[in-house]
Symmetry: C2
Subunit: 431 residues, 2 copies
């Protein structure tokens, strides 16, 4: 029976905007390596496929409503690749996926760092490719504003080509280590890339051997047309953000069809929508956990979430509707959120409460049975190959997975009882 | 009594060019995390101040004599910051210093990654600032040749200013975590850098808290006039490359005087010349270890070392003198090596054998008593605050330190018996 893929998203120690105000949240855990290590080990004990860190290279939104930023937890974090390398030394099986931007990096560095993570972890590294959307990030890298979307994706496509090329610098058996003759490697098994394109001129070779997985996995999350093409051609895993099963099925079908056009005959890329789960022994208990966090949402922090998508709404009645102009023109990010606001006729407060519950992603409140019914439905009707679990608060969210969700998934035969392979690629069934 | 500072340089698993051909060298250990981990733990068990990784962002010398590169071990390695992060999770006390180039990086990334390493390691991170000297590196980053020295150092000086500014983004007590009021941090304790200089425009703030050491340590190795000024103003530790005690004393006095001009009243920066030690229970045993490795030097690999400094010498008689033109004009790298060749009237083979023994650095052959006499002389006559040990081969070189050198240093009261503080800064006595 086909198994569901499961990842755990660990950024900020929780995906509920008010997680840090919960009585059980330990102040400072979001920059405490040992806390991340313990959660990673708990996820590995449950045989999850991977842990994942989203990322941005700025404190975003430093120009939002007065005081909002200081009420938001998203200011202090650890750089995810550095953190994952440290976690590589503290775990043995679980996949390690970190985000890095193609807009603000150089392909040689990215190829080398992820190759190193793949070596260090014994074949468990994955790179989540993003193009970065905020102007705040541009301001940290000699620019006054972000690149336009087309330019970002043009650069991203070439960036990924270069990185994959560098990962092919050496054949697996290139290093002969022939002590007698003095030959360290076979020159016929070295491939100098010599890439010359519009954005990058990179000679290579990479100063690192071929990695245990052949190359680190590539993960992609962009839902735009260009993002889908990059994912279809290159990605091993796609993190999607669908809010409804219909939307998810359409995305799934589209992406697999595009992948087939690129000649990919396996089931890759695997599609793993994000989901935030509120659960408990009873529906009432699950609802109480949800309500407890919702009651802790600071209106300033709520408006700060919406700021990215809607601009400054602090002058508006929180219990009134969203300004009409938000629904006009081309929406580039947060479109799912705005569609929901329109469809359900939400007030500003209702919208930020809805967004806060899963940092703009999908969330579900229910017992193990209810939640697993939902996941199984998505999994078995062509909407998902698995899920990227974005817990509302950590480590509690992982403990809830262990206590409620994973036993029920296993009871139904939907999730593994042990790792099948030695590498992330093998565990994901990607050959 | 003042204690000597000791670091262990671990690149390539050994600083002798033929290390990998030694019967005891395990093929592939240079990309094996566990092997580095075991050596780091051995160094920590001996209370060494730090481990260190040099670095370059290319396979250097891809245009040297036919076949030479494939006989050189310096092709395959792990990216040092990624490796050190993994080692941070496997050690508790020892300092972790990795090299990163100011010519091929962006200050925001460097500030953030080293801050993260400092958090993860509990205050043990150091950044070795280099400007990169090879054209091969330029070819991996959209350039056809390296920047001229002046331009590199101008960029480096501003780069370090920006990184230090970003590390000051947050006061130590900025994060209030006030669950009741919803205030995550005190906005008065956030400092937006807003740097606008000739090379960099970086707004900040850094999306990471102030680190356990206040900021990661800064290490510098440049011996040029501009390099010395950067070191004098900013560095906590300087890795020098002096070949003689007289040269070392002059460098030491000059650098401490420059530091005083920058208003630095403590003993910083600490100056730690590199040294490769061949030792044993007797002088004959030490000499035999040296001879064994020297006998393994492949002429192609020997010429490849010299290639960087002398160009292609493969058409010359190896047992004849160096071409005269090498001693003309401005020498920018390897000047100590060429000076030695001239002073001692060395043949090409003698020069590469001399260079091979310590990858162009100083080396010494002797019993514990002889070696420690030498180190003590440097330490007590104003030539060094300690040493950066570049072992000929690992892990054997670290085992020799434990067996011979460290007991003798401790017998004379020159080296610690336990760590004094919790952070690298404290252990180095830098307050």
């Amino acid at each position: 029976m086909k198994k569901m893929r499961l990842g755990l998203s660990m950024r900020y120690h929780g995906y509920h905007v008010a997680a840090w105000r919960h009585p059980d949240y330990v102040p400072g855990c979001n920059v405490d390596f040992r806390s991340y290590r313990d959660i990673a080990r708990a996820a590995e004990a449950e045989k999850l496929d991977m842990i994942f860190f989203a990322d941005g290279v700025a404190v975003r939104g430093t120009d939002q409503p007065e005081g909002a930023l200081s009420h938001d937890m998203r200011n202090a974090e650890l750089e995810p690749l550095t953190l994952l390398a440290a976690l590589a030394g503290s775990t043995d099986h679980i996949g390690l996926v970190a985000t890095a931007s193609t807009t603000y990096n150089e392909p040689f560095h990215i190829a080398r760092k992820y190759a190193s993570l793949d070596h260090i972890s014994g074949g468990r590294a994955g790179w989540n490719v993003v193009t970065s959307w905020s102007d705040q990030e541009a301001l940290n890298f000699n620019r006054t504003e972000n690149l336009p979307r087309e330019a970002r994706y043009g650069r991203a496509a070439e960036f990924v080509e270069v990185v994959k090329g560098l990962w092919n610098s050496w054949d697996a058996d290139a290093f002969t280590h022939d002590k007698a003759s003095g030959q360290f490697y076979d020159p016929d098994k070295l491939h100098v890339l010599d890439h010359r394109g519009p954005h990058f001129q990179v000679r290579g070779p990479l100063n690192s051997c071929r990695t245990p997985q052949g190359r680190p996995l590539i993960v992609q999350a962009g839902a735009s047309n260009q993002g889908r093409d990059i994912a279809a051609e290159h990605a091993d895993v796609v993190y999607s953000v669908s809010q409804t099963v219909e939307e998810a099925r359409a995305f799934y079908a589209d992406l697999k069809a595009r992948a087939a056009e690129f000649g990919r005959l396996d089931n890759a890329p695997l599609i793993m929508p994000g989901i935030t789960i509120y659960t408990g022994a009873t529906q009432a208990e699950a609802q109480a956990r949800f309500d407890e966090l919702q009651a802790l949402i600071d209106p300033l922090a709520g408006l700060n979430i919406l700021y990215t998508f809607c601009g400054d709404l602090s002058g508006h009645d929180l219990d009134g509707p969203l300004p009409e102009h938000l629904f006009e023109g081309r929406i580039t990010i947060g479109s799912g959120l705005l569609a929901k606001a329109k469809a359900e006729n939400l007030t500003i407060r209702q919208l930020y409460e809805s967004a806060a519950a899963g940092f703009t992603g999908r969330y579900i409140i229910g017992t193990a049975e209810t939640v697993v019914d939902d996941l199984q439905h998505w999994f078995e009707t062509g909407a998902a190959d698995g899920f990227n679990i974005c817990p509302p608060i950590l480590p509690q969210g992982m403990a809830d997975m262990s206590r409620f969700i994973l036993p029920e998934l296993r009871r139904r035969g939907l999730f593994r009882t042990d790792y099948e392979g030695a590498t992330l690629r093998q565990n994901l069934g990607l050959g």
